[in-house]
Structure formats: C-alpha cells, structure tokens
Amino acid sequence: MIDPDPRAIVRAWNRLILAGEKVALKSLATGNFAWFGIFAIAAVCAYRLSPSDLKEVMLKVLVTYGWTGYVVAAVTIFVSIKILKWRENFYHQEIARIAEVRNAVVQNKLELPLQSSVQTIVRK
C-alpha cells in the first residue's frame, strides 16, 4: 500500500474548497441558486407526496393552469421581437456613427495639411 502524501491531500482539499467558493459566488451572481433551490424543493415535495396527490397537482398545473403557458409564450415572443427590433435599430445607429467618425477623422487629417499648404503658399 502507498501512503498518500498528507500535504497533497491538504492541497486537494484546498482546491476543492476554492472551486466550491467560486461556484457559489458565480451561482449567487447569476441568480442560478434560486432555480436550484426551487428544483430541490419541488423534487423533495414530489418524492414525499403520494401518487394520487402528485397526479392531482400535476393535473392542476398542466390542465387547469396550463393556459398560463400560452400567455407566457405570447409575452416571450412579443418581448423577443421588441428586443430584436431594438438590436436592429442600434446596429444601424452604430453603422451611421462609424461613418461619421470616419468622416471626422478624414476631415481632421486633411485639414492640417491643407491649412499648412495654404499657409505655405501665402508665405511664398
């Protein structure tokens, strides 16, 4: 049997703790912890409920309140279209802005030599 190096074990634990900390912070930042919590609660409830109660709840959600899915889908599609139109709009604005900047840069670059050439001519 090979004895594991105790320092390697400590290092492995430290890396694991660090990784856990990073995952926790990211899940807190993104808000995914809320979904994880809801899934966990739903899973525990589904596990502990009797089959008849589970069937009753599922029927209530999918049949009685199933119409909310259509409302949510309609709102989602509407909002998606609005977002895509917004994206199209600011993309065109950006293209126009780039053209303006290009013009401004060209003008600024051309103005200096033109002025200097005029000054040179006057001096001559």
Binding site: A29, G31, I38, A42, C45, L49, D53, L54, T68, V105
Partner: protein, 177 residues
Amino acid sequence: MKTTLFLCLMFLLVGLPIYFLYWNLFRPVLLKRLKYRMYQVRDDLRLLLVGGEISTKEKAYPLVEQFCNKAVAKMDFVDLAVVFEVKLDRQSVLEAERDLEIIFDASPEIRHHFIHAILLVAGAAAANSPGVLILLIPFVFAALWFNKAKARFYGLMKKAFAILLIKPEPVPEPVKC
C-alpha cells in the same frame, strides 16, 4: 406540501421562459449595445486628441483609452462576483489609486468620458450578475445615505479598476506530459 409543489411548478412554468429569454437574448443584445457605447466613448476620446482638444502629453488619455480597450475585451464575462472574489496585492491597489488620481485631475472631457466608461462597465457587470443585483439593490440604495458606505463603494470601484486595468494577466501553467 401539495401547495408548495404547485407553487414551485407554476414558478418554473412562468419563470423559465423569462430566464432563457434574459440569458439567451436580452443579455447578449444589451452587452452588444454597451460595447457600441464603449466604442463611441473611445472614438470620441480619440477625436478629441485628433482635433487637438486634448494635448498629446496628457497622462490620463492613454489610461482611459487602455481602460476602454480592456473593458471591451472583458465586458462579456465581467461580473460583480469578480470584485469580491479576486484578491489584490498592495502594489496593484496603489497603482490603481495613482492612476485614478491622474484621471480625476485631468481635463473635464477626459473625466466625463472615463465616468461614462466606468458606468458602462458597471452596467455590463450588473447585466452579467442579475442575482446579486436583485439581492443587493435595496441595501445599496439604503447604504448610499452613509458616508462610510460611499467610501467603501469608492474602494470597490478602485478595486474593479485595478482588476480590469492593472492586474497582470494570469500566465497559463505549462502542461506536463
């Protein structure tokens, strides 16, 4: 138990499409918009230099331009967790403090553009971390009444600036075969 399961399932039914809509459509579009605004800030700054409104010897100009470049590169994944997660050394903090002083002592145009850029990065960080935002918004607004909290926020801004601009990029470790 039945009510809890019912509420959870209803929350999933209504919340998941909103979640997917946010992460897969709204956030990328918003980040693109913020990037375009950042390009605008950078271009305006360059035009000021080309037009001669800023001196070429201005110390703050390269700092702000570099900040804009790094912000554009990191906007997609910068979030509020990074500010709490990354530990900075004393030298980086001091460098950030010095650079911020240079920028805030510069001409009003540069200051204006820098503040605009900082706000855009803050917007990107907020868009990438809606969880923290929802949790912290009430505390942030309450805390802004106190000067100590304001000083702490300035410290956080300094840290974010140092992370974005000064902290050296981590060198990948060589792969051992």
